[in-house]
Structure formats: structure tokens, C-alpha cells
Symmetry: C2
Subunit: 457 residues, 2 copies
């Protein structure tokens, strides 16, 4: 059977080193989030399907893992439905629950269900797994972590600034270089309005978003499929072309002030000016306006942002934005919020590629105590106990019948830097042999000297 053992495609086992590396990322995020007054919540892995469905578009719905009702799941299905064999329709009759697809919809559900216990503005973070029945490929998994941070119940632009500060602190702590791209949905909406293509807003923003990939000429040709008057078309494509040549936020803002002429668009420009000005005051670097940034999710209504790693080709490692009515889908309208999601798996890949994880992260045990005298076994435990009181992580070897050489090999394979050996002789002196596994050096020391030596390194 061993040969046929597998785990579901798109899922992963994590070995101790990988868990330690992931914890490093999660702990860095949690630490920064909590310094900014965010508090953690957790929601169930499963949600009612009616909570999830219809929130992620038709494609998203297909990617939700459904959980078969337990017991006789066929019972409630009519013969007619059964015989029709419509998989999509039938799945809703035999499944009530699904695995969460992201943390945003469960968060909105949480806020609505617990609105009377929550003090607004509610600043929450949530670091949990999500599941998507996506086609697995390099860097894309069916089970992965999202690390979300949101402020809900305030429409102040200071909240956006706070997110930018958090980005700065997180990536500074992780020692990663990055750039934050910001845009505002109101600007995109304004552009759509002044070109009379509001009904085509989604296709319009999708086309803009592709400029990086397909180039200006192709974007121009795709835009020409939209019903834009030729005079407007000329101005629009000119604006896009020129915008894309500019490098400073100041020049970009001037061009926006010149081109944008509807109220909603002007509001968006005003918001982005506030943010950019305050970034300067607060020493938030690496923020660049880009009107081409669209972000797929339809619930965004104001600022949108995305963070890219600038040292690798891995792309977006964080993204988010302002939404004015997220909880509206669950019956609580007019609650404005802003939030973002850090991509832990992507950040992991960036740190791995750049070799930027802390140097000793794989070292999870400090000391190995060899065992070659059955009469001294409880003594080994006593010594270990003293070392543990000093917060040293100690593995006592349990099988005295294994040869010392093999024991040292085991310590080596486990990457344990120190080995303690003791025999009757040493014990009578209250001293123990400490071996540095890297250099091979050996020292005869008392327990306190051992503790000092290891703690000082």
C-alpha cells in the first residue's frame, strides 16, 4: 500500500523546517497587526453553502469545495431531480456546507452575526486556511493560508494610511524589498463615466489591467471594441499612453487633475492626493500610483492597492482595498471598511528564493543528550530538566543499546548543534562532556558552565 499512498492534489505536507518558516511569517504578521491594535478572530472551516455561493462570481462558485451531507444524503432528493442527473443542481441538494473560499465573506458574515457584541471601528486580523478547487500549478494550491487585516466601521482615509504603514513594517521586519501600487476605484469609475461606458465597467478595467502583459497597442485595440465616441477614444488612449510614461506620483496626479472631469472621478483623485501627501509626511516610501491597477473583486469602491516583491518575479504578495458595502450582502448596509490580505505562500517563496529566512530557523533543538549507560538514564532526565528550566530545547536519547557513533549521527542529522555525554567518571566530578557538533570541539564543564556557554552563543 505504501507505494500508492498519496495526498489530495494541490495539498501539502509540511515538515518541521517548513512549519518553522511558515510560523516565522505568521508571527511577524501577527506581531505587526497587534502593534496597530488589530485583534484576531477565527471562523469555522465550513460555512453554509448559502453563505458562500453567489459571492465570488460564477467561476468562483465552481471552485468551492462542497461537503456531502452525512447520513443518507439521497433521502431529501426528489426522484425527478435524481433522474435528471444535473450535477450542479444536485450538488445543492446533497450538500449544505462548503469549505471557506476566502476570509472576506466569512468576516462579513461574522460582523453581521456578531454586530451587537462588536465595538466599531472593528480592527480584526484573521490568519486561517482557505480551500479552492483550482487547477493546481506551481505556486497555486488547493489549500493555503490567507492573512487578512481589516478595519470596518470607519471611512477615514487614515485607515488606508495605516494599512500602508503596516505594509512597511511587515516587509521591513521580513527584510524584503517591495513596491506598493495604489489606485482608486472611483477614478476608474470616473473614467468610465466620462467615456459613457459605465455598463462596460468590468471589461474596461480588465482591459486596463492587462497593459503590462499585452502592451499598449493591444489594449488600444481591445478598448476600441467598447462603444466609446471617437473623440473620447482619442483622449482616453492618449491619457493612458501618457500616464504610463510618467514616473513620479506628482506628475501622475497633475495628469489625473487635467484629464478626470466627473464628480466621482474627482473624488477619487482627491483621495489619492490625500494619501500620497501623507505618505511623504510619514516616510512611507515605495508607493506608486497606477491607474492600470484594477483588482478583480467587485466589492471594492475606493482605494485599491497591491504590493509587489521587487527582488523577484513572484509578483503580488499582498493586496486589498476599500469597500463601502461588504456586509450589505448579509443585511447590514452602509458599513465602510478597508482591508488587505497577505499571501503567506508567496511571501514564503520570496524568502526562500532570496535565502532570507533567519539563519538558524531549521535549528529546532539545542542539545542532544547521548545515552550509553542504562544505569544513568534517570540522571540524563535530571540534567535535561535543568537545561529546560533555562529554556534550552533538549532531546534525551532513549535507547542506551544504540552505539554512541550512531547516536551522534542522529544528532547530526537532526541538525542539533550540541551534544552532552556523561559517564560515571564525569558525574563524580559533577562535570559533563559538551561537544560542539560543527567544530568537533569538546569541553568538560559543569551544568551551569554549559548553560552559559550555549546561551552566550
Amino acid at each position: 500500500m505504501s507505494k500508492n499512498l498519496t495526498i489530495p492534489k494541490g495539498t501539502r505536507d509540511f515538515n518541521p523546517e517548513q512549519v518553522a518558516k511558515r510560523e516565522y511569517i505568521f508571527n511577524t504578521l501577527k506581531h505587526v497587526f497587534s502593534l496597530y491594535g488589530f485583534v484576531p478572530i477565527e471562523t469555522p472551516s465550513m460555512e453554509q453553502l448559502n453563505t458562500l455561493l453567489g459571492k465570488y462570481g460564477e467561476e468562483g462558485d465552481k471552485l468551492i469545495f462542497k461537503i456531502l451531507n452525512s447520513g443518507n444524503f439521497i433521502e431529501g432528493v426528489s426522484n425527478e431531480d435524481w433522474n435528471e442527473k444535473n450535477a450542479n443542481k444536485l450538488s445543492l441538494k446533497i450538500c449544505e456546507k462548503g469549505l471557506r473560499y476566502d476570509l472576506t465573506v466569512p468576516f462579513a458574515r461574522y460582523v453581521v452575526m456578531h454586530q451587537n457584541e462588536i465595538t466599531f471601528p472593528f480592527k480584526r486580523y484573521q490568519i486561517q486556511q482557505v480551500w479552492r478547487a483550482d487547477k493546481p500549478q506551481k505556486g497555486r494550491y488547493r489549500e493555503f493560508y490567507q492573512c487578512d487585516v481589516d478595519i470596518i466601521g470607519s471611512n477615514s482615509l487614515l485607515s488606508e494610511l495605516e494599512l500602508l504603514l503596516i505594509i512597511k513594517d511587515v516587509f521591513t521586519a521580513l527584510n524584503l524589498k517591495y513596491q506598493t501600487i495604489i489606485n482608486n476605484r472611483k477614478i476608474l469609475q470616473g473614467i468610465a463615466e466620462q467615456n459613457n461606458i459605465v455598463e462596460h465597467f468590468t471589461s474596461f478595467s480588465v482591459i486596463l489591467d492587462k497593459l503590462d502583459k499585452i502592451g499598449f497597442e493591444k489594449v488600444k485595440s481591445e478598448l476600441s471594441q467598447l462603444p466609446i465616441k471617437s473623440e473620447d477614444f482619442y483622449k482616453l488612449t492618449n491619457f493612458i499612453f501618457n500616464f504610463n510614461q510618467l514616473s513620479t506620483n506628482k506628475d501622475k496626479i497633475n495628469l489625473l487633475l487635467e484629464y478626470i472631469n466627473t464628480d466621482i472621478g474627482k473624488k477619487g483623485v482627491e483621495e489619492i492626493i490625500f494619501i500620497i501627501n501623507n505618505c511623504e509626511k510619514l516616510n512611507i516610501d515605495n508607493v506608486a500610483i497606477d491607474i492600470l491597477l484594477a483588482r478583480g473583486l467587485n466589492y471594492y469602491t475606493g482605494t485599491i492597492l497591491e504590493v509587489k516583491s521587487t527582488e523577484t518575479q513572484i509578483g503580488s504578495i499582498c493586496g486589498g482595498g476599500r469597500y463601502d458595502n461588504l456586509t450589505g450582502i448579509f443585511g447590514l448596509p452602509d458599513v465602510s471598511g478597508v482591508g488587505m490580505s497577505f499571501g503567506a505562500d508567496r511571501i514564503y517563496d520570496v524568502l526562500e528564493v532570496l535565502n532570507k529566512f533567519p539563519e538558524n530557523i531549521h535549528q529546532t533543538i539545542d542539545i542532544f543528550i547521548a545515552n550509553f549507560d542504562i544505569n544513568l538514564e534517570t540522571k540524563l532526565f535530571e540534567i535535561a530538566n535543568e537545561l529546560r528550566k533555562n529554556n534550552l530545547r533538549v532531546e534525551v536519547f532513549h535507547d542506551s543499546n544504540v552505539k554512541l557513533k550512531k547516536q551522534l549521527n542522529i544528532a547530526n542529522q537532526k541538525q542539533i548543534p550540541w551534544v552532552i555525554m556523561l559517564g560515571e567518571n564525569e558525574i563524580s566530578q559533577n562535570k559533563y562532556l559538551l561537544k560542539n557538533m560543527k567544530t568537533g570541539e569538546q569541553f568538560l564543564l559543569t551544568l551551569n558552565e554549559i548553560i552559559d556557554k550555549i546561551n552566550n552563543l
Copy 2:
């Protein structure tokens, strides 16, 4: 829609205070586990159904949540199977994956799949959720955490002693009183052998396990249903009755030495003597032999143990034992291991009932900075930044148009102990108003004085 919002039964949302309390338990466990040289692994939430099924008995199989195949799940089902409408059979045709039911089977699967990367003895801990389609009731959930710690690849009894040390350290750290009950499957097996009821081993141990609940007379009557010779029956029930009257491990061991007369049984007694003797040497208190402890899981082959809270009626908060062939089901025979699982939810309930969570665990933010002058907003961010550099958790209020009184109310509701207020006057002196929200006291202090004051409390 808000009124109809629900989450799946048996699942829970966790608010910030509850998350903090859970983290406290997990972090205590992780800390102790790592001091003993255990390292963490993680496995996917989903496993292939063929990995899970047949490992937990017929009842267990029914409690596994199955995940509907994505896409057209009907495609692979024959018309015959479809029309037969056998839910159990059909579920295996339309589902390939299930949510993990415990951490033991995934761990065994992990060890077999990764056997060439693992250095044995492998000491791993794993703290992850499991899912069971059980009938939800008080204290029993459909999604809950297990916290497992196992040593695999050694048959030394020192491993059992190490588990007892970990139990001691964990519950000492959590400030909980407890008792550890130990038994040995070999003793139970020996008793079955000498009464010629080896084929009835499971019913036999189930009957013994019930003594606490149903009393000696009923146990006697149930045992009389087993095919035991009358002479043996007299000795057996006498032994059980007498054993149950004894209070010291010494007396219990003497009775065992007297009664047990088969090789396997004697081996079990020998093992338990080794453990009890070493417990004395290592100051491991609260360990009591109880031959009535059976533990349901069939894979145990040696020591079995269970920890009970002695301050509450909540019962078992940790359990485990020695298994000699766990990985055999996946094709890797003869690997002995020993492990145990801490019940985080039960421990949570015990700490809650006894009011033993750390006093300030609900306090997740240290300082609230009020905001009542739009011109000072970036100044607030700068002050917050300085405080955060000193590891203080700071919430800056973002809406200067909200009345100060309401802001102070919000700080109070969020249980934030300190509020900083600043106006032009204070800033010109480089001093800020610090309010103690508990006592109402106010102080005019420099930033450094504020940091000192808060850190010293």
C-alpha cells in the same frame, strides 16, 4: 437575510478574547513540547478517503466528512449504481477526499510517505483541527483542535516517562491540578489470556472500563456473560474487587504480581513497575495505576494513559499510549511509537470554569490615541509609531469628527487601559495627556515618561 444567517451546527466563531485564550493553551503546549525536542509537522485538512476509511471502525467511518468531487461528479458513476441509490456505496463514487478525523492516521501516513527524509526516533507534535460528523452536544464539536505529541521509532520505556514529564510541565504551566491514570494493554491481554477469553478482548475491556459508571455488581454480571470457567471467574472478580479497594501503587503492583500469571501479562506488570519506580525518582507525582483503564483505540499495545482534571467534573483532558504497529496499515511494519493527545477544548473549559486564564488575557491593546483635531492627525501617527517601537500595542482613532466622549467610550468597550490625548498646547510642550481608564487619573507626560509608566506596570 441577516436573521437567517447561521454557521454549520457543531462549529464555532471565536472572538478576539477566545482566540487569545486558545492561543495561550496552544503556546503553552508548543513551548513544553519544543523543550523536550519535539518538532512540528502539518498535514493537509483533506486526505484521500482510502487513507481514512477502515481506520476508525464502522462507527468512525460514518463520522468522516466527505468532500464532493468537483466538476461533474456524476460522470464516473454507472447507471446501475446511480439507480440503486445506496448512499453509502455511492458516496465513495462521488467523493475521493475527506476531512481528517484525527491526527494519528495522517501522522502514520506522513511517516510512511516521508520515511526516507525522517531521522528516527522521530519526535513530532501537531496541533491542528479535526472534523467529525458527530451529534453536536455540550463540549462536543464537529470542528475542534487536537494537540498530539508522539515519539516514533523507539521502544524504550523512557519515552513513556518523557510523556509523563510533559504532562507534569504542561499542567504545572497552566496551573491545573490533575491525576494521570496508567495501565498497560499487555496486562489486560494477560488477564484475558489466563481467563481464556482472548477472542472477547474488546468486550472484556469495555466492561472493565465501565466500573466507575455502573458499579461492581453490574460489571460482575456483564462479565458472567463471557465464557469464563467458574473457578477463574471467582478469582477474576475477586481480583477486580480487591484491586479497586487499593489506593497505593505499591499495593496494586503486589496484587498484580500475585494475580497475573501469563508471559504477556507479566511483561505488562514489569513495564508498569519500571515506570512507577522511575516516577518516584523523577518526582513525577499524581500517577496512579488503574487496571480498569482500557481506552477504546485498538492500536494500543503497551502503556495506556489518561489525564483527568481533579478540580472539575470535566473528565479526561489528555490521553494516549504505546502502539507497536501504527504505520503497519500503510505498509511500514514494526515501528514502535508512543504518543498522546491533549484536548484543547476540554482544557479551555477547565481553565474557564476555574477562572485560571491569565488575568490580562482579554487585554489585547495597550493604548488608545484619541483624535479630535484634524490638523494633528499625522502627529498622532508619529507618536503611535514611537510607542510601537517599544512594543506597545496602539490603536489610533481615525475619525476626528467623533466626539471625544464617544471615543473614550470606545476605548472603554475595547478594554484598553490607557488613552493618550493631545492638543496644540500639549504638543508645544512636547507633553501629552495620559489617562488611566480604570482609575480615571490623568498625567501630563513626555513620550518617554509615558513608555516608562506603562512598561513598569
